[in-house]
Symmetry: C2
Subunit: 355 residues, 2 copies
């Protein structure tokens, strides 16, 4: 049976990225050595990091003055690195869910934190609008896509203070105006690569403005200066990122990814809105194109386990909703095919006709 | 031509670990999904982390009260995590080289640092002996093996204060008396796994004794509490570690690894001491079994490039010495075969007879 991987992350990657990574593990570029065993200082690995940065800049049209970093530790480590590097007195945070809340918690160890707006009142089912950004804040932090709640900002807002965004789960799904951001970061394990590498896009002249001393590994300047090679980087995860960046470019870049995301969302949200059994959880204008969350209508709540079992029997993987929302979640990252979405819709339709 | 991988790290791994990792990237345990795309919360991944911890405990005979963690960020991140979690007033460090110095540098951000001894006077060619450990220190930090200088402590010292060891490059090469340590850590990319995961063996009751607030991701208690699953762990690197732990067990455990290490060292150091062209750089009683460093004798210094080219032509990979020592380095980690060492020796002999 064909399986469709709707995992929220780590998640689906293009088959060619998987196959090429596996092949490189066996023999890296005909070197006679496994990618798992080559030195990060080897002559044939530096080009991997270099090309990955070039493709990042090309695909996202990153202006001059920015560096792309490939680090370890995950986006959760960035939650404390950001205030370490940017918070002198006061930071502003937009609270759109669990991850934004976690990021705020770390910032509070370093200074004053202002929550500019929160959608906690409605279990984070929407992205707040028309909030005021304090002009004396050191930065504004946003989470562009909220994996758990299926909400997404999906535009580049204007901020009077340096804008920092966690784009873990929607990077490379649309063109971004990078010039509006001081820093963009995220874990790789959604739209970029296997788990184990974190990307950071940082505007160099925004660094070095805080007075505190920063541990070497937590100081972005360390990694900027050393081109992500201050210590041994996660070699194989970075290589899988490079392969995926090549794939995105070959597919037509982020505009093509955006078009696909819109098509997938139309198919799946279309069925959620049509189907008598289901209802979406996010407010319509906040709906994420990456994580499509839905539940059974109140009158059909007892069908929860049955639908899960039915969907699984049809090859759907990872469609269980997060415990904070319940119901179901179809994560539709870049590598999810239209066929996969149609298979999910067929499954929802068949389940409806059975009831 | 057969290649022999003497890289200092990332470095040689057993062929079966490489092949099984590549196979899992294509299809993880017949799940129909790539290991690169499965959720770390998947039912078939938790057993990977669990078995890796069980094998760590079994192979190193770790007593009750210790946890094994699999983190991201590399050993360099631990350099600041250790003082964050342990340094209240004063820490003691044994300075045996670049990595120990880097670890000390981070500690100085958190409190007083006492260098109990240093071998900097002789370019770190030996491990200091008979140093005094201040009994009022919060901990003593040691680097058990010094990859750059080819020196190794290779025994578990007695310390009146909690003992913390960076064992990045000699873990699993000998039995350890873990009960003597509060914490043992290291990057995986030598004797354990592909780059991208850091192991930490921590005695739980040594944590939580400092008064400062610790960022969540830098607090060992976070990872102890969540079984290394607080955030998305490096899934594929962890899996490669599990495969290697299984391999070590199948080979007879760390005692068998120690025997092999001694055999390899006898072969390579034997030739260094015999060959008229070469001389070892480390003092004899401090010689590392993992990283065997040697240079051309003063009268043969002009043969440096020629030997490098000759060794490369014979299939030797990564034998160039670190720039701080010069000459050559044969890193002989667990997966290095006797055949590989004999090939290196044959190469040295042939080069000698050519001159």
């Amino acid at each position: 049976m064909k399986k469709y991987n709707f995992n929220a992350g780590p998640s689906i990657l293009p088959r060619e990225v998987i196959e090429q990574t596996a092949a490189a593990c066996l023999d890296f570029e005909n070197s006679g050595l496994s990618l798992m065993t080559i030195s990060h200082r080897a002559k044939n690995f530096q080009p991997v990091v270099d090309e990955a940065e070039v493709l990042f800049k090309e695909l996202l049209d990153i202006p001059e003055g920015y560096k792309v970093l490939f680090l370890g530790g995950g986006a959760s480590l960035e939650f404390c690195m950001i205030p370490y590097n940017y918070l002198e007195k006061k930071a502003a945070y937009l609270n759109t869910g669990v991850w934004a809340t976690k990021a705020m918690k770390e910032a509070k160890l370093f200074g004053e934190v202002v929550e500019v707006a929160s959608s906690a009142d409605k279990n984070f089912t929407y992205i707040p609008k028309n909030f005021e950004i304090p002009t004396d804040a050191d930065y504004l932090h946003i989470t562009s896509n909220n994996t758990i709640y299926g909400t997404e900002l999906r535009k580049d807002i204007d901020s009077p203070v340096p804008l920092i965004a966690d784009m873990s789960s929607d990077i490379f799904s649309r063109p971004i105006d990078v010039s509006k951001y001081a820093l963009i970061y995220g874990g790789a394990q959604k739209n970029l690569a296997m788990a184990g590498v974190t990307f950071v896009i940082v505007k160099e002249d925004t660094l070095g403005k805080v007075s505190r001393q920063i541990p070497t590994m937590l100081d972005y300047r360390t990694h900027v200066k050393k081109g992500s090679m201050f210590n041994t980087p996660p070699v194989v995860p970075i290589y899988s990122a490079l392969l995926n960046l090549r794939y995105i470019k070959a597919q037509g870049g982020v505009k093509a990814m955006e078009k696909l995301a819109e098509e997938r969302a139309k198919i799946v949200y279309g069925e959620i809105d049509r189907n008598k059994l289901f209802v979406g959880t996010a407010e319509e204008d906040s709906r994420s194109l990456m994580n499509i969350t839905f539940v059974l209508k109140p009158e059909y709540q007892d069908l929860q386990d049955e639908f899960m079992a039915f969907a699984t029997s049809k090859g759907m993987v990872g469609v269980k909703g997060h415990r904070d929302v319940g119901g179901f979640r179809a994560s539709c990252y870049n590598a999810m095919s239209i066929e996969g979405c149609e298979a999910l819709v067929a499954c929802m339709k068949e389940f409806e006709s059975n009831h």
